[in-house]
């Protein structure tokens, strides 16, 4: 579908405008990351007789946060949800109801374009950080792990997008979606593994979290990278992740079809 390639092209040109912003964000984002890494290093220093804390060596723990940053850079939804909500509120989606263009695919293209630009801008500061921390950076055990990691990152990006898209569609019903987005984001932050690797939690809690989509929004690809899920568990996890992506897609479509029935073009 060549028209969607055009959308990606336009999206790239539009987001290029914000490259300084992106660089600013990427650099500032490294500050809390460094702080967390130093904090863990202090924890390891405070327990000198133990080689590992909670099943992680210092290198594995540092790598966890570094790889999580990498995955986040590639997959996080930045402004897309705000824009979608604004499109609905301002009546901009009316034109998509008339054009032979699917709004979800259109937004997905813009999301992809945004990630391409963000990654290429943020790569420089992140690469510097990886270089500085290289003695603590573990590499994937083998080619297969790396390949599964790559697939899982793509699935993570899709899942992130569908979740944010569905949340933004709440704008059909409520005027102000930002609080809902922030509440969900708080849960993602904890249950997705942004704050700490989930397997340092008590096992029953981890088992409960595994029934939610949150771990598949960040934690799963990172633990694949670190080789903490292997064998049958690896393939099982990948299938579950794909399942969540399909469920997210179905939910997004369903909410859209419900929302569009309520929609009355304001302004437009």
């Amino acid at each position: 579908m060549s028209k969607y390639w055009h959308v990606i092209g336009i999206g790239i040109q539009n987001t290029l405008v914000y490259r300084v912003n992106f660089l600013f964000r990427a650099c500032f984002g490294l500050i809390p990351l460094m702080a967390t890494i130093y904090l863990w290093r202090a924890v390891f220093r405070s327990n000198p007789d133990q080689a590992s804390v909670a099943g992680y060596t210092l290198a594995a723990m540092t790598s966890y946060y570094l790889v999580a940053t990498l995955v986040d850079m590639l997959t996080a939804v930045a402004e897309d949800d705000w824009q979608i909500a604004a499109d609905i509120k301002d009546g901009n989606i009316s034109q998509f109801l008339l054009k032979p263009m699917d709004y979800l695919t259109y937004r997905l293209c813009l999301f992809a374009a945004g990630r391409i630009i963000y990654t290429s801008v943020a790569l420089a500061p992140v690469a510097v950080l990886l270089l500085v921390q290289r003695e603590f950076l573990l590499l994937p055990a083998d080619g297969l792990t790396a390949a599964v990691f790559a697939v899982s990152v793509v699935l993570t990006a899709l899942l992130q997008f569908f979740v944010s898209y569905t949340m933004a569609l709440l704008a059909f019903w409520v005027l102000e979606v930002s609080t809902f987005i922030f509440i969900l984001f708080a849960f993602e932050y904890l249950a997705g593994g942004h704050l700490f690797p989930l397997d340092i939690l008590p096992p029953p809690l981890l088992a409960a979290l595994n029934f939610t989509p949150f771990p598949y929004q960040l934690y799963f690809p990172v633990s694949v990278y670190l080789g903490r899920v292997t064998g049958a568990e690896l393939w099982q996890g990948l299938v579950i992740q794909a399942g969540w992506v399909i469920a997210g897609y179905a939910l997004a479509r369903w909410v859209w079809s419900r929302g569009i029935r309520r929609y009355s073009a304001v302004g437009g």
Binding site: I31, L39, N47, A54, E176, T179, A186, L190, L195
Partner: protein, 280 residues
Amino acid sequence: MDATSPASPPVAAPGCLRRYATVYAGLWRNSIVREMGFKTNFVLWIVVELLWFALQLCFVAVIYQHTERIATWSKWEVVLLMGASQFIQQVFTALFFTNCSNLSELVRTGRLDFLLLLPVNTRFVISLRHVDLGAFVNAASAVAVMVHAAGRLGLRPGVVELAAFAALCAAGVLIHYSLMFLLATVSFWTVRAQSIIWGYHNLFNVARLPDAAFRPGMFKATFTFVLPMLLVANVPVKLLADKLDAGWEVLLLLGMTAVCFAVSEWGWRRSVRHYTSASS
């Protein structure tokens, strides 16, 4: 238009002080009326902030499942630190945060013209226009956490100690305000406000960590002497928990507060001098 003159009305005479108090009371009234117009939203934002605070406490709880101490800090000392950091951050948010983040919008739309023409100090009115009342609720929850943590640590601070603690917290609020105001004026024309807010939120993350966790080096030096995040909450808590290595840390915090404020005033004056109205 001579843009430097509005920054200069002296704030010394007692009559002048009373006038500013009256103006500020008016700004408070306005903010209350505005907030009460969106009650659901008001409550939801408090919920959002509480959730994020709870997240930070979860992080502490999980880390201390796997270690007894982080450097010299025990679990409840770190909880006390998180509470103090949240308290300072929320008081800062209540009084200054929205105002600082709105500054670049004022510049972009040219609405700053109107504020420059008001017969009050421009920095005063820009910095204190909106009061975020929800943040006071969150500050209260931070106090509750601090009281609980202090109880667990068996601390019994006297009136003098509490007053000193409050004064050091106020210094912390001033540091946050000066730095963010400076950030907002520096990026007058280049970066959109959203990035400033986002950027500053990252610094809060450093402020709630125990300083002893960081070894001397670039990181620690930067966040002590350039952006004194590791002083803002750490020094008041160390005073309260009797962890101060020496009195010079208190002096450093107060000194850095003065320096930050002076630098932000300098940056503000420079920026205003370069201001050319956008549209009107």
